[in-house]
Amino acid sequence: MTTRAERIANYTILIVFSLLALAPIVGLLLTALRPADSVGVGFVFPRSLHFHNFVDAWHTGDFGTGLRSSAIIAVAVVAIATVLSILGGYGLGTMRFRGDSVVFAAFLIGLIMPFEATIIPLYYDLRRVQLTGGYWGVILPSAALSVAFGTFWMRAFFLATPRSLLEAARIDGASSLRILVSVLLPFARPAVLTMMVLTFMWTWNDFLLSLVMLPDPSVQTAPLKLALFQGRYVTDITGLAAGALIVALPVIVVYAFLQRHFIRGVLSGAVKG
């Protein structure tokens, strides 16, 4: 039983943290809605709400192109990384083979190594094979990075599934692929969806890799377009705020749709062990 005092304390903590999480977004929204030529940022409620700022930002930032590029890259990365992570995690989580621990360690390097450290050699490598300047220059490295995490994530999930389930399916005559598709995946949906949301979010929000790989404005992603609001001497704060909200919207929508699965997926390791 929780006492009244405990409940009040719980709610107080939850409210404080919710406010801390929401404050920047509210600040951003208020900034985005103030008149374009006004000075100052923060929690001053504007006298009039300028929704037209979003239209202006859309044009200035060329977000039609930016969002399309981001969507192409994010969808491709999520698709590639999901398929490969499931297969990798399945192999490492359910099968024993010579050198499996070495393979797993190699995947972990991808998780541990700071990405910034690899970006310059990566650029030169990709330039040599003529992959810079196009979508693949971002898709392939992003997918590789996501596979490192995804394999680790799915391996943990498959390790936790009862072994007898796999064995029953083997005795029923199912092939390895059939076991994965018919028996394990339906059961793994929360874990897979969580991984997809995380991969989508990371890819969508990526700035550095796109900045290095995509000099051509016609293929630049939405986060890169935010740089257009920042001149050498002036920064269009209002436009930047409106643009930031436009960029953040798809992630929020994806999360909102999948949040039930997301929470279940995150908790599944913690609660069931």
Partner: protein
């Protein structure tokens, strides 16, 4: 239908021998029970037949075919798991159909076979349900159904009743036995429960430490255990085992220690100086008027258990020599009290104190 043969089967994990040179056969249609404490190698022996573990030595034969390197699906086996291992997201019907669909059985026949199996196991009303909507007993029956519906020649069961409560376990025990009698499929049944072993098996293989100790029909296992381990493992309460000195005297053998002496008219001829003597409680009865019993002997009550139908009294007859005496009905004794009892002749089990192997009865 098919027979199963372990031909010197061995399984090692590093330096640990989980199963050591197992030579055993389950005949076509036989119900063979592998029984033993945990770590005895019984489940390993079963998994080697299923193809879920690879042999490190010897061979396994099913239906006259060496299956050492065949994957499970090519061995013609079906298996019931301890935790049932039902596919959680599939309905009961789909659980039953899964193996048949993979085997490419035509739809009509699948439906027919599921219908027959469901009828036989009382699952007809549950076909649309998911495993999480079933009770433990129902899940167990679905697991059994999934194994039976395939019509495999060999049925493997790995402690299938251990997650059920006592009443349901007794009921299911009878049910499985009945199903086997209706359609005698070669069955290898693993359990640590000696009641299951004794009541279900055509033959019982007692295992310990990765080695087969004895294989025989239940009555032989009980009446003529091959060694001290089998004697102590089978039977509740356990057989009382005491290490006694042995010598031939006038008119028979004398067994004794610390002032307790037992004279038996007949005993195995090759009698070593030290023997382990086993006596089951039902062969050690309270003394009334003799009834042809050896005795009387006297012992001090150390413990007693009244079970209603009968009572078991633990007595110490001499320093370190302990027996269990059976009495009909509820018998109340006081601790420390002296009781008189007699021993049924011919029911003393003699084992070599050195090797533990049976010498015979006295």
């Amino acid at each position: 239908m098919a027979d199963v043969r372990w031909d010197g089967a061995e399984k090692r994990y590093g330096d640990v021998r989980a199963l050591d040179d197992l030579r055993l056969e389950a005949a076509d249609g036989e119900f063979l029970v592998l029984v033993g404490p945990s770590g005895s190698g019984k489940t390993t022996a079963l998994r080697l037949v299923a193809g879920l573990e690879a042999l490190t030595g010897g061979h396994v034969w099913i239906g006259g075919r060496q299956v050492d390197r065949l994957p499970p699906r090519q061995r013609g086996i079906a298996m019931v798991f301890q935790d049932y291992a039902l596919y959680p997201q599939m309905s009961v019907e789909k659980n039953l159909a899964f193996g048949l669909r993979i085997a490419g059985v035509p739809r009509g026949e699948i439906r027919e076979r599921i219908g027959t199996t469901a009828e036989m196991l009382g699952l007809a009303d549950l076909l649309g349900r998911k495993p999480r909507e079933l009770s433990g007993g129902q899940r167990q029956r679905v697991a059994l159904g999934r194994a039976l519906v395939r019509g495999a020649g060999v049925l493997l069961m790995d402690e299938p009743l251990s997650n059920l409560d006592a009443q349901l376990r007794a009921q299911t025990r009878i049910e499985i036995k009945r199903l086997h009698e209706q359609a005698p499929t070669t069955t290898v049944y693993v359990t640590h429960d000696q009641v299951e072993a004794m009541t279900m098996g055509d033959r019982v293989a007692v295992m310990q430490g990765g080695k087969l100790q004895q294989v025989a029909d239940p009555a032989t296992i009980y009446d003529d255990p091959a060694n001290v381990f089998v004697a102590s493992f089978i039977g509740t309460p356990a057989m009382a085992l005491n290490r006694l000195g042995a010598a031939w005297g006038d008119g028979g053998a004398e067994l004794g220690a610390n002032g307790f002496t037992l004279r038996v008219p007949a005993a195995p001829e090759a009698l070593p100086a030290d023997v382990t003597v086993g006596l089951r409680p039902e062969h050690c009865r309270l003394w009334r008027d003799g009834d042809g019993l050896l005795g009387p002997f006297e012992g001090r009550v150390e413990s007693f258990e009244a079970l209603g139908r009968e009572s078991f009294i633990g007595v110490e007859v001499a320093d370190g020599v302990r027996l269990v005496v059976a009495a009909e009905g509820t018998m109340r004794s006081r601790l420390g009290e002296l009781v008189r009892f007699g021993i049924v002749p011919g029911r003393l089990h003699l084992f070599s104190a050195e090797s533990g192997l049976a010498l015979g009865r006295a």
